[in-house]
């Protein structure tokens, strides 16, 4: 396994390596989604800087990062079926004048297969269940053949079968050397999913081996804090990039 710096957060010696799945946990409003968006280059970090493969995220070659948002804010009546959407994953890397190659089609077929969507590839996206939608968008991300995969709470609101499929997929991709960063609410299975766990509440509170981090009580501390102060954080995910 190669050890190469994938992600660096300013002021913090956080290094994500190839072949690692990193879980980000934190309460609502802790900024974990914003952190993921900043890594994807969709928002500027409010302070500090983020480097992915040694450069600013938006300066990376097209197709480097694949991002699956928590809620897909797409127009579900868009004229596309599952195959069309997954095939879009190939677009960032393709030359504008070159049609889909055999390789492109194979990658799309493999991505559909990996997410168990092959039988549904002809289905209109408006007719998918929540779990099927999620699997479609993860398949599109896989079809991109990214060098870094970002998943924002992919297991929220999906059925158990989809969750198991996602877990198996994440572990198999990590085994092939792909670094994955993923936010989650699910602490119970953190050790199954991740090689590293990051606890975030506007800043990074803990980072390391999942079991060690959970045992350290860093996450329990936040919960206690929220509880004793009697209110949840109401500000949206806009302040959370670690400084």
């Amino acid at each position: 396994m190669r050890y190469e710096r994938v992600l660096a957060l300013d002021h913090l010696d956080l290094v994500v390596e190839r072949g690692q799945a990193v879980g980000i946990v934190g309460p609502n409003g802790s900024g974990k989604s914003t952190l993921l968006k900043a890594i994807a280059g969709l928002v500027e970090p409010s302070t500090g800087s983020i480097e992915v493969f040694g450069s600013a995220p938006h300066k990376l070659r097209a197709g480097t990062i694949a991002y699956v948002p928590q809620v897909e804010a797409v127009d579900w009546s868009f004229p596309a079926n599952v195959y069309d959407v997954v095939a879009m994953g190939r677009f960032p890397r393709m030359h504008p004048l070159v049609p889909f190659s055999k390789h492109d089609r194979e990658v799309v077929a493999a991505a559909l297969e990996a997410l168990r969507m092959t039988d549904l590839q002809g289905r209109q996206i408006s007719e998918l269940s929540g779990g099927q939608q999620q699997r479609t968008f993860v398949a599109r991300a896989i079809a991109q053949e990214p060098e870094l995969l970002l998943l924002d709470e992919p297991t929220t609101g999906v059925d158990a079968a989809t969750e198991d499929a996602l877990l198996a997929l994440v572990r198999s991709l990590v085994a092939k050397g792909l670094p994955i960063i993923m936010t989650t609410h699910d602490l119970e299975r953190a050790a199954e999913w991740f090689d590293r766990l990051m606890v975030v509440d506007r800043k990074v509170l803990a980072f390391g081996d999942p079991q060690t981090v959970l045992d350290s009580g860093a996450y329990a501390g936040i919960r206690e804090h929220v509880h004793t102060h009697g209110h949840a954080r109401v500000d949206p995910d806009d302040a959370g990039t670690p400084a």
């Binding site: 280059g41 004229p79 209109q124």
Partner: protein, 274 residues
């Protein structure tokens, strides 16, 4: 029967008009597919109205209509795009302010001319029979440019139309793509002004694609159907207007509108086989 079809072609101005109708119908319905899917129809209407100021200013300074219209249309398109991406003003408010303001400027300048100008009024409702030889050349050149850029940007345009956030994360230059689309939209409108006019061009942008959207649920088919409907209706509408002695722009738009309602009825009957 063949006389009926060929009769209009005995006039050279009708030949030019048919070329213009075919090109404008094809171009509008192509870019209209993106206008419908990205919900830009109000922007299209706004750009068309704003360009009137450019036409009048060009007239006053003795410059080419197309040049004046293109400058103002592209500037309006980029301004709207900028407000959309950066501004605190809501998009429809910004368009509402910009396009009525610019349109009013055009009307104001026109009303101060010594004699009320018929040429300029032609741009409001279109006068496809007045399309000159040089107009046809400009229409063809601009259309080719728009088609080539659309073809080159086919994939990023499709991706950003469907899912701009994820497209941006994967490195698709979404800002560049949406500004480029707005510029192409502005050029399309400029090309179409003489044929269908400022007031009616939005219909030619939206209606063929909206009709196609009723009939299919695949992007490529929607694009193809939209072009087929737009081009056919533009040419057929021109024929109709010739025999009915009616205004060509209005006849074309009425025809597309009828096709839209037929498409809606077809879909309501559950036929989504296409």
């Amino acid at each position: 029967m063949s006389d009926l079809i060929l009769a209009p072609f005995q006039y050279e101005f009708m030949q030019r008009a048919f070329v213009a109708a075919l090109v404008v119908g094809t171009l509008c319905s192509t870019i209209g597919t993106y206008v419908v899917l990205r919900k830009l129809s109000f922007i299209g209407d706004g750009i068309a109205h704003a360009s009137f100021a450019g036409i009048v200013i060009a007239y006053l300074r003795g410059a080419d209509y197309y040049f004046g219209a293109a400058v103002v249309a592209v500037a309006t398109a980029l301004g709207i795009g900028f407000v959309n991406r950066r501004g605190n003003v809501s998009l429809d408010t910004a368009i509402g302010v910009l396009f009525t303001g610019a349109f009013a400027l055009g009307v104001f300048l026109m009303s101060r001319l010594p004699s009320y100008n018929v040429d300029l009024q032609g741009f409001l409702f279109g006068d496809i029979l007045a399309v000159s030889r040089s107009d046809v050349v400009i229409i063809l050149v601009l259309s080719c440019f728009v088609f080539v850029v659309l073809a080159l940007l086919y994939r990023p345009l499709l991706y950003t139309s469907f899912d701009p956030i994820v497209a941006q994360a994967s490195g698709v230059p979404t800002g560049f793509i949406s500004y480029t689309l707005l510029v192409l939209l502005a050029l399309t409108i400029v090309v179409s002004l003489e044929a269908v006019g400022i007031v009616l061009v939005a219909a030619l942008l939206v209606t063929p694609a909206a009709a196609a959207f009723q009939l299919t649920r695949r992007f490529r088919r929607m694009l193809g159907l939209s072009i087929a409907i737009g081009a056919t209706c533009a040419v057929a509408g021109l024929y109709l207007s010739y025999y009915l002695h009616a205004a060509s722009g209005a006849t074309i738009v009425l025809l597309v509108t009828v096709v839209f309602f037929i498409a809606m009825l077809v879909r309501r009957r559950g036929n989504r086989a296409l």
